[in-house]
C-alpha cells in the first residue's frame, strides 16, 4: 500500500522533493509564488501530509522532511476518500454544477432516455 495524496498535497511534496527539507514558511513562500496559495492554505495541506505520514515535522522552525519518495506516491483515486470528504455538501453555499446527491446507474439511464425522447419530440 502506498500513500495516496491529493494534488494539493503533491504540490507540497513536490517542493520538498525539489528543494529538500524546508520550513513551513519557506514552503508557503514557494507555493505562494507558484500557485498563489496563502499561508493558511499551505499549512492546512502540510498538516494533511503530516497526518498521512508523508512529512515529518521537526523543531525548531517547523522543519518539514519528506518521508516518502516520488515513486512511492500514488495520486489519490477519486474513491472513498472523496465520498468521505463530502460530508459537508459544497452545494450549500457554493454554486456547484451538480447537486450533492449521487444517482444510481438506473437513474442515469433513465435521464439519458428522457433526453433522447425529449430531443426527438422537439424535432418533430
Amino acid at each position: 500500500m502506498s500513500i495516496k495524496l491529493f494534488d494539493s498535497e503533491l504540490k507540497v511534496m513536490d517542493v520538498l522533493w525539489k528543494h529538500g527539507d524546508k520550513t513551513a514558511k519557506e514552503i508557503s513562500d514557494i507555493l505562494n509564488a507558484e500557485i498563489h496559495w496563502n499561508m493558511n492554505t499551505t499549512y492546512t495541506v502540510i498538516k494533511k501530509c503530516i497526518a498521512k505520514g508523508a512529512i515529518l515535522r521537526s523543531e525548531p522552525n517547523f522543519m518539514c522532511h519528506s518521508l516518502i519518495s516520488k515513486e512511492e506516491v500514488r495520486a489519490a483515486e477519486a474513491d472513498e476518500l472523496i465520498s468521505k470528504l463530502f460530508d459537508g455538501s459544497p452545494d450549500l453555499l457554493f454554486a456547484s454544477l451538480l447537486g450533492s446527491n449521487k444517482l444510481t446507474d438506473e437513474q442515469i439511464e433513465h435521464l439519458k432516455k428522457l433526453v433522447s425522447e425529449l430531443d426527438r419530440s422537439g424535432l418533430k
Binding site: G53, L56, E59
Partner: protein, 692 residues
C-alpha cells in the same frame, strides 16, 4: 417594520412565486422567477416599506391619521436605528421583539405605547431567546460548512489545461476570475463574489472540449449573475426567518432555480440546438461522479429530472409570457414593499426604537461578531494541532509503505532512493547467522536471519539520552516482492536483547514498515537488531534518539506581561518562535508547547573557544506538572537551512534549568530555550552569564 411583518409579507410573495413557478414555469423565462425570488429576498431582508396613497382611498376612515403618518413614515425610525446599530442585515433582528405585542394589539389602539414596552419586557427576552435558539445553530451549520469547504477549495491548483486557458482569454468579465482544478471536489463549482473562482473537478477537466465549454459557460454565467452571493444571502435569510416554513420552501426552490436559470442562459448562449448535448454533458458528469462513490441515493432524482426536463424544454421567449411576467413582478414588488398607510402608529415605531435600546441590538451584533471572529481565528490556527498529529503519525507509520527516517536532532539526514532488486547488498554472517551491519550501510540489503545494527566501527550506539529521550528503531522493507516471513525488531541494550513490541497498529499487515520506540532516562549503549524469519529485502533501517516531544496540546501562544500572542499571527517569524522578547529579558513569560524563545544576538558575541556560558531559567512549578524543556547552544546558521545551527544541547524534566555550555570555537552564539512539554511553561526569569 418588524421581523414578523417582513416574514409575513415575504411569505406571501414566496407563495405567489411558488404558484407562478408551478403554473407558468415552462413558458416563462427563468429570469422572471429569479426576479420574483429577488423581490421576496429583499422583502425578507430590508426593513423598509414604502407608503403608497392607494390604501388611503380604500381605508377612508383613517384618512387623517394616514396623512400624518405618510410624513412620519418617510422619516422612518427603522432607518434611524438601522443606521445607529450597524449596516448589516442583522440589524433588523432587535425588532423581533415588538411582534408579540403588535400582533395582538390592534394597530389603531396603540395609544398606550409606553405600557406595552415595560409590560412585555420578559416575553420579549423570551422571544429573543427562542428566536436565537433557531438562528444560532443554523448560522453555525452554514458557517462551519462554509469554512470547512473553503479550506478545501483553497487548496485547488491553477488549471493549466490549454483549452481552458484559451477559453478564459475569450471570456472576460469585469471582475477577474480564476479557473482552478481540484481533485477534492466531485463536481465543478464556483465560489467567491469579489474574486470569483471556477473550480473544475478532475472528471470535468477530462471531458472533451465541447463538454468543457458547456461546463465553463455554466460557471461563467453563475459569476456573471452573482449567484454565489445570492446563495449566501438565501442562507442568511433562512437563518433569520427559520421559523417561517415558506422561507424553507423558497430556500430549496430558489437554489434549484439558480441552476435552472443558469442552464437556460447556457442554452441561449449556445443556441437551442445545443440542448441535448448540454443535457448529456450534465448526465455524463453525474455518471462519472456516481462511479466514484460507493453509495448513491435517489434524493435528488426529482431535482435533476426537473432540471434535465427544463433544459430540453427551453423555448424562445413568448412575448405574452414576458408581459405577464413583467406585470407579475410589478404587482409583487408593490405588494411586498407597500404598507397600507393607516394608523400604524408612530408609537409602534417608537417602541421599536426603544426595544432596540433596551434589549441591545449590540448584544446581538456581539453574538454575531464573536461568531465571525471565531471563524477567522479558526482559519488561522487550523494547523495548530500539527504536532499532535505528527505524534499520531508516529503511531501510524507502519500502515504506510514508506521509507522512514526519523531525524536525529544532531545528525544530518540521509537521503534514500529506491533501487532495483539486483542492487540489494548482502552481508556476511557469523556462525550463528548474525550479520553486523553499520548503520550507514543499513539500506537496501537482503537479510536472512538476524542483523545487528552498529555504528560505523561496529560498536553499539552510545546515545546521549536526556531525561525523556526516545530511541527509535525503524525498518522499511520492499513490499514490491511478496515475502511471507516475519520481521522482529528491537534493541540490544547493555548486552541484553530487548524485544520491543511492535504492536499491530505499527504493522497491521505484517509488511512494509516496522517501527518501535522506547523512552530512556539515562545514557545507554544500544544496538538495534532486525530478525527476519525468511529472506527479506530491507530498504532502510534507522536507529535514532529523539529529543523533545512531538505532542502539542496547547496552541501556539505565549504570554508576555499578561498579553497573549500567537506566533502564527506573525508571518515574518518562524512559527514556533516567541517574538518581542529575548530569553535573557524574560520575566513572567508563559510559552506554549513547541515554542522557542531565543537570546538576543548581541549577548553572546565574539566568544572565544573555551569560554563558558551559563544559562539559568527559573520555572514556575505551579503552572504545570509536566515540564520538559530543551536548551540549545546555536552558532550562526546551518549551511543547508537558514535555522540556527545547534552546537550543543541539553534537556530535562527538572523544574528549573541551570546549564553550562563550553564554547567549542570562536564566534557568535545564540541560546534557545524550547518548551518540549505538553503544557505551558511559565518562566519566572532567565539569565545568561558568560564565564571567561
Amino acid at each position: 417594520m418588524t421581523l414578523l411583518h417582513m416574514t409575513v409579507s415575504g411569505g406571501l410573495i414566496i407563495l405567489l412565486t411558488v404558484i407562478i413557478r408551478r403554473i407558468g414555469a415552462k413558458r416563462m423565462p427563468k429570469s422572471v422567477i429569479m426576479t420574483m425570488w429577488l423581490i421576496a429576498v429583499l422583502r425578507l431582508l430590508v426593513p423598509v416599506s414604502v407608503p403608497i396613497p392607494i390604501p388611503e382611498a380604500v381605508l377612508k376612515h383613517c384618512g387623517e391619521i394616514s396623512a400624518d403618518n405618510a410624513s412620519s413614515s418617510a422619516v422612518k425610525p427603522d432607518n434611524v436605528y438601522t443606521g445607529i446599530i450597524s449596516n448589516d442585515e442583522y440589524t433588523i433582528l432587535p425588532s423581533v421583539l415588538p411582534d408579540s405585542s403588535q400582533v395582538t394589539d390592534n394597530p389603531g389602539t396603540t395609544a398606550n405605547t409606553v405600557q406595552p414596552t415595560n409590560r412585555s419586557a420578559l416575553p420579549k427576552s423570551l422571544a429573543l431567546a427562542a428566536w436565537l435558539a433557531g438562528v444560532l445553530p443554523l448560522a453555525v451549520v452554514f458557517t462551519s460548512n462554509y469554512i470547512l469547504n473553503m479550506r478545501r477549495l483553497k487548496c485547488a491548483i491553477p488549471c493549466r489545461h490549454p483549452f481552458v486557458e484559451e477559453w478564459q482569454s475569450r471570456h472576460k468579465l469585469k471582475r477577474n476570475y480564476t479557473i482552478g482544478v481540484s481533485d477534492m471536489i466531485s463536481s465543478p463549482l464556483t465560489y467567491g463574489t469579489v474574486k470569483p473562482v471556477i473550480l473544475l473537478s478532475k472528471s470535468a477537466q477530462a471531458q472533451n472540449e465541447s463538454s468543457l465549454s458547456y461546463i465553463l459557460a455554466h460557471e461563467y454565467i453563475h459569476i456573471k449573475h452573482f449567484d454565489v452571493l445570492f446563495k449566501i444571502v438565501l442562507a442568511a435569510i433562512l437563518c433569520i426567518h427559520w421559523f417561517n416554513p415558506l422561507v424553507w420552501v423558497m430556500y430549496i426552490l430558489a437554489n434549484r432555480d439558480i441552476e435552472l436559470s443558469c442552464d437556460e442562459a447556457v442554452v441561449k448562449m449556445f443556441g437551442e440546438s445545443s440542448k441535448a448535448s448540454y443535457a448529456y454533458t450534465l448526465i455524463n458528469l453525474e455518471a462519472a461522479r456516481s462511479r466514484q462513490c460507493y453509495f448513491a441515493s435517489g434524493f435528488c432524482k426529482n431535482a435533476i429530472e426537473e432540471r434535465i426536463g427544463a433544459i430540453m424544454k427551453t423555448k424562445k421567449n413568448n412575448v405574452f409570457a414576458i408581459i405577464l411576467a413583467a406585470l407579475l413582478i410589478f404587482v409583487g414588488t408593490v405588494a411586498a414593499f407597500a404598507v397600507p398607510v393607516e394608523g400604524r402608529a408612530t408609537a409602534d415605531e417608537v417602541q421599536d426604537v426603544q426595544c432596540a435600546d433596551v434589549l441591545g441590538g449590540d448584544d446581538i451584533n456581539d453574538i454575531f461578531g464573536r461568531n465571525m471572529n471565531g471563524e477567522e481565528k479558526k482559519g488561522n490556527s487550523g494547523y495548530v494541532s500539527l504536532q499532535k498529529q505528527s505524534f499520531e503519525l508516529l503511531k501510524q507509520f507502519s500502515n504506510y509503505d514508506c521509507n522512514l527516517i526519523i531525524q536525529n536532532n544532531l545528525k544530518d539526514l540521509q537521503s534514500i532512493s529506491l533501487e532495483s532488486l539486483d542492487d540489494y547488498k548482502s552481508f556476511e554472517t557469523d556462525e550463528l547467522g548474525v550479520a553486523y551491519i553499520p548503520l550507514s550501510q543499513a539500506e537496501h540489503f537482503v537479510l536472512d536471519g538476524t542483523a545487528i545494527i552498529t555504528d560505523d566501527v561496529g560498536e553499539p550506539f552510545r546515545i546521549k539520552f536526556g531525561a525523556y529521550d526516545t530511541a527509535t528503531i525503524s525498518v522499511a522493507r520492499n513490499t514490491a516482492v511478496d515475502m511471507p516471513g516475519k520481521v522482529e525488531i528491537g534493541y540490544i541494550i547493555n548486552g541484553e536483547k530487548v524485544k520491543i513490541n511492535c504492536n499491530s497498529a505499527y504493522d497491521r499487515d505484517n509488511k512494509g514498515c516496522y517501527y518501535c520506540s522506547q523512552e530512556f532516562d539515562e545514557d545507554t549503549e544500544i544496538y538495534g537488531y532486525i530478525y527476519c524469519s525468511e529472506p527479506m529485502y530491507i530498504n532502510v533501517s534507522e536507529i535514532t534518539a529523539n529529543s523533545g516531544s512531538y505532542i502539542n496540546f496547547t496552541p501556539y501562544t505565549y504570554t508576555i506581561n499578561g498579553e497573549t500572542y500567537n506566533c502564527l499571527e506573525d508571518s515574518n517569524v518562524s512559527y514556533a518562535l516567541v517574538s518581542g522578547i529575548f530569553l535573557e529579558e524574560a520575566r513572567d513569560v508563559i510559552i506554549g508547547n513547541g515554542l522557542t524563545i531565543q537570546s538576543s544576538e548581541e549577548i553572546l558575541k565574539h566568544l572565544k573557544a573555551g569560554d563558558k556560558v551559563r544559562v539559568t531559567v527559573d520555572i514556575d512549578v505551579n503552572e504545570s506538572d509536566d515540564i520538559r524543556w530543551a536548551i540549545k547552544l546555536c552558532s550562526g546558521l546551518h549551511p543547508n537551512t537558514d535555522m540556527p545551527h545547534v552546537v550543543d544541547y541539553t534537556h530535562n524534566r527538572k523544574c528549573g534549568a541551570d546549564v553550562t555550555f563550553e564554547i567549542p570555537a570562536n564566534g557568535d552564539y545564540i541560546i534557545s530555550f524550547i518548551n518540549d512539554s505538553m503544557d505551558f511553561i511559565h518562566i519566572n526569569s532567565a539569565e545568561i552569564e558568560i564565564i571567561k
